[in-house]
């Protein structure tokens, strides 16, 4: 635990130092970047200690605030979330040192808030007191708000930041109520003392819904995802990587942490999560397909992946409700592993998108193309990330989705049609989501990196080594987790045992036979690589005495093919989006008119339906009604003091009535 606190201290000191030395660009950069990476790398040690030795590390201090004490604790569940936070914070900080080189803004403030974000996330997953948790939660949210608005000279960034700030506070409001209700009975906000206020299923259901809305807003479950596609593209890319890779997972952590305190789950919780998961997954990936902005597409893909995690959690809850530990174990294992995996590949992809933006100056994929030749490192690593996120073997994404599939397939043991149908619908939905994810990521790779450059005005250059190295490490992580399939279970075992309240050896006795097939997976990967090597050699032998000619791409007889005749990204996804066009896209048609036809045009852009039909009307309604109350705010201090005094009097009367 000392190491954890030391890491926290190093990070906060580094951030503060960077802020103080902000006028010396170089010093500020090195102090911030190195300090934050070293500090968060230290967290890997306590996290691994807790995970591999199945230990719980804790510190406790009394503090002046009523109801409970200041408790920090790393148990396997915390450690499992702390691990990706530590790794991704360190790698994204390294990347930022390359990304912000020569940035015109002073970087001190950036590093200060970056350190607060990293520290806030680490505190969120270790806090064991409701109040401390909420403080850490706010720290994390506010710090990330300042990071999102770091490049505030760009158009739209301020609005995106505001949307994020409002959304995250709405979520926090629900968490306030949740923790107050949980702490009400025991009179203490320490997690260890939480008891259910009333044992009735209605109460448990209410608490579950509060947690789902509060934490779901942070996680980005549809329809609470509205802030996510706004904030991620606006933020600098390494911040997007950190927010998308790990920060939104604190929502998942919150749900998992709170679940044991609100009672045994009935089946409808699981069905609700499966439904929300499928909705988020399908909506997220279809919206991702509709985007032309790379980072916005990646942000929507995060909504999709949170959906997959929610699907896993839903299977876990159904398994628990039905008393089928194997179903629950497989679902939870898949969901947890997907949290780790998503941190790896989404981190990689956002960093890759940042490199594209850095190297070309645009993130509009319709202007890009052929970057594989000018940015070979970024292109290849991005392709690996795309393979991993499409859940293709031998990469890590396959492993977690495989566990979720298998959990749902084991639903057949439940022998209850009303439980099997949602689980099998989960299989069908995940299959469709997988197919659409393949469409989305072949589009991203194919349009951005392959083919010919679409816009002659875009000049690309490969990025600094500091930006490539973190991507290389993350890509290696994606492959390593995939190849370590038979052993990953050992990593998950203590977390699973804690969450289900089973002994670790019971967990492994259940999981071992069900996942025995994973032992073949490294051999399959080895087989794939060696077969590819053999076939490449065969091709080389066959071609040894033959001509290897170079020519233009077959153009079907056109005399002057140009790069603009390539298939565009919008054209690529149009057939799929045809069926959801009315919901996801906004078109603008201008038809020729008159006897001498005027110019005609058609443009379409992706538009979030939740934003358009739900959030905006409600927001405008609110603005309209609160404008009527504006006379209260007049800027006269005496009146404000009077308001405070009156409020206190009213509260006193209410207390002593």
């Amino acid at each position: 635990m000392t190491l954890f606190l030391a890491g926290l201290a190093v990070i906060v000191c580094a951030g503060t130092l960077s802020l103080l030395t902000q006028s010396f660009h170089r010093l500020s950069m090195i102090a911030g970047g190195l300090g934050v990476s070293v500090g968060s790398a230290i967290w890997v040690i306590p996290a691994c200690q807790s995970l591999f030795q199945n230990k719980t590390l804790a510190v406790q201090w009394a503090w002046g605030i009523p109801q409970g004490s200041l408790i920090l604790e790393i148990d396997p569940l915390s450690a499992f979330f702390l691990l990706p936070i530590a790794i991704l914070s360190a790698l994204a900080a390294l990347y930022a040192m390359g990304y912000l080189r020569g940035h015109k803004n002073a970087v001190g403030a950036h590093w200060f808030f970056y350190s607060l974000l990293a520290g806030g996330m680490a505190l969120v997953v270790t806090a064991r007191n409701g109040l401390l948790f909420l403080i850490a939660w706010e720290l994390m949210s506010v710090a990330s708000y300042f990071l999102v608005t770091f490049e505030d000279e760009e158009p739209g960034v301020i609005e995106a930041g505001r949307t994020y700030l409002i959304a995250t506070h709405i979520g926090t409001a629900f968490l306030f109520v949740l923790f107050v209700l949980l702490g009400q009975e025991s009179g203490s906000l320490d997690f260890a003392h939480f008891t259910l206020p009333h044992a009735s299923p209605w109460w448990a259901g209410t608490l579950f819904l509060l947690a789902l809305i509060g934490f779901g807003t942070k996680a980005g479950l549809v329809p609470l995802h509205v802030w996510l596609p706004e904030a991620h593209p606006a933020a600098p890319s390494h911040v997007s990587a950190l927010m998308s890779g790990v920060m939104i997972k604190t929502g998942i952590y919150g749900i998992l942490r709170i679940l044991p305190y609100i009672g045994t789950p009935p089946a409808w919780w699981g069905m609700l999560l499966i439904g929300l998961g499928l909705l988020s997954g399908l909506f997220g990936i279809l919206s991702a397909l509709a985007q032309t902005d790379i980072k916005r597409a990646l942000a929507y893909s995060s909504v999709e992946n949170i959906g997959i995690i929610a699907l896993g959690l839903g299977i876990f809850l159904i398994g628990q409700a039905a008393g089928a530990p194997l179903v629950a174990l497989l679902g939870l294992a898949g969901a947890l592993l997907h949290v780790l995996n998503h941190a790896c590949f989404k981190g990689l992809l956002f960093l890759g998108a940042g490199s594209v933006l850095h190297g070309t100056g645009t993130k509009n994929m319709e202007r890009l193309g052929g970057l594989m030749k000018t940015m070979p490192w970024t292109g290849t690593l991005f392709t690996l990330g795309a393979l991993a996120i499409s859940a293709l073997p031998p990469f890590n994404g396959f492993l977690s989705e495989w566990l979720i599939y298998l959990g749902a397939l084991h639903g057949q043991d439940l022998n209850t049609a009303s439980l099997i149908i949602p689980l099998f619908l989960g299989i069908a939905g995940l299959a469709l989501i997988g197919g659409l994810a393949l469409a989305c990521f072949t589009k991203l790779v194919g349009i951005v990196f392959l083919g010919e450059p679409r816009d002659p005005k875009v000049h690309a250059h490969e990025t600094h080594i500091l930006m490539r190295l973190p991507m290389l490490l993350l890509a290696a992580g994606c492959l390593a987790i995939g190849l370590a399939a038979p052993w990953v279970q050992a990593l998950l075992q203590p977390v699973l045992a804690d969450s289900l309240g089973l002994a670790p050896d019971v967990v492994s006795a259940q999981l071992q036979p069900a996942t025995a097939w994973l032992a073949y997976l490294p051999w399959l990967a080895l087989g794939l690589f060696s077969l590819m090597a053999v076939l490449t050699a065969l091709r080389w032998v066959l071609l040894r005495k033959r001509t290897i000619a170079q020519a233009g791409t077959w153009d079907c007889g056109y005399t002057r093919p140009t790069a603009r005749m390539q298939y565009s990204g919008s054209a690529f996804s149009q057939p799929i989006l045809l069926y959801v066009q009315r919901i996801l896209q906004k078109g603008n048609l201008r038809i020729p008119q008159g006897f001498l036809p005027t110019a005609a045009s058609w443009n379409e852009e992706a538009a979030d339906p939740v934003q358009r039909f739900l959030v905006r009307p409600v927001y405008e309604c609110l603005v309209w009604s609160t404008a009527k109350l504006r006379w209260i705010q007049h800027g006269r201090l005496q009146w404000y003091v009077l308001y405070i005094a009156l409020t206190l009097v009213v509260l006193l009367i209410w207390k002593f009535r």
């Binding site: 393949l438 072949t442 194919g446 073949y520 399959l524």
Partner: protein, 302 residues
């Protein structure tokens, strides 16, 4: 074990023959003599002995794809139970691995097509991802329903336990899944009514247009890989339709081959008597395949 190896060897040797059978069937329907039954072997030999032309536009992706496609299909053969016998790498959950290795090959197929920068190949790639995403539901849901019927979690578990007595008990379920699988089989192998392997217009093709720029040994690898894919998906359908377990391994495997020949003939018949669907109609066909799989599940659980 030996039987499984033997089945794989047979797939490697005989897969291209099935295309000869399809072409002969179509020729007979059209009143022609048709190509020799072994034409595909000649083609593969010819292509293997040719040089290769690469576009200026391509990157490493285009060169890796043919190799990966063939390697992927060879791996899938290790997971495939043929003739009702346990596959080499059988185990709970291998059905998802089979689907996702095929998806890995598809991923590279699509990005290799986009790598050439050709608008035609981009068009084919766009159609491929659309149709395969829809086919995936019917395929996985169908397999999982079969798993539910047989109470198993692996491909080998499913296909060793299918039998005619199970057909008597769950005839409707199996029939619906067989229809779904047949549609998926036609779509995934780029046959009529989804795609026409013999078309001569790039605008209307799906699979053939995506390999338009491949030549020489690369094209040979790709043709061979698609023959193996036909064999693999065909075996899954045949294993459901003709679950013959005599107790003698070789005879069961021989029946499975016979089944594949019958399947090839019926594909030839379908191609002779049907026209290709309009592209806008294809998703409806694939969605109906998914609905068949889902209705099969409902029938099972009713």
């Amino acid at each position: 074990m030996i039987l499984a190896l033997f089945s794989i060897l047979a797939a490697l040797l005989f897969a291209p023959f099935l295309f000869g059978v399809i072409n002969r069937t179509k020729a007979l329907f059209a009143g022609r003599t048709g190509q020799p039954l072994l034409q595909m072997y000649y083609d593969l030999y010819k292509l293997g002995n040719k040089g290769v032309v690469y576009s200026h536009t391509i990157s490493w992706v285009f060169r890796v794809y043919p190799v990966l496609a063939l390697a992927g299909m060879l791996l899938v053969l290790l997971l495939l139970p043929q003739g009702g016998h346990v596959a080499l790498l059988a185990g709970p959950g291998d059905l998802f691995a089979l689907a996702y290795i095929l998806a890995l090959v598809r991923f590279f197929n699509v990005i290799a097509a986009l790598d050439t920068g050709s608008s035609f190949e981009g068009m084919g790639a766009s159609r491929e991802v659309q149709f395969s995403a829809l086919a995936e539901i019917a395929f996985l849901l169908g397999l999982c329903t079969l798993a539910c019927v047989t109470g198993s979690y692996s491909l080998s578990g499913i296909y060793t336990q299918l039998s005619y007595s199970a057909w008597l008990a769950h005839g409707a379920v199996f029939l619906l899944i067989a229809i779904a699988f047949f549609i998926v089989f036609l779509a995934e192998n780029a046959r009529i009514p989804v795609d026409d392997p013999n078309t001569h217009l790039e605008l209307t093709m799906i699979h053939e247009v995506m390999i338009l720029d491949s030549s020489g040994p690369d094209l040979a690898f790709l043709h061979y890989a698609s023959a193996l894919k036909f064999w693999i998906l065909g075996s899954l359908l045949i294993g459901l339709l003709f679950p013959i377990h005599t107790g003698y391994g070789l005879i069961d495997v021989a029946f499975a081959w016979l089944g594949l020949l019958v399947l090839a003939v019926s594909v030839g018949i379908v191609e002779s008597i049907m026209a290709r669907l309009r592209l806008l109609r294809v998703p409806q066909l694939l969605v109906s395949a998914s609905v068949f799989s889902f209705v099969a599940l409902i029938f099972l659980l009713r």
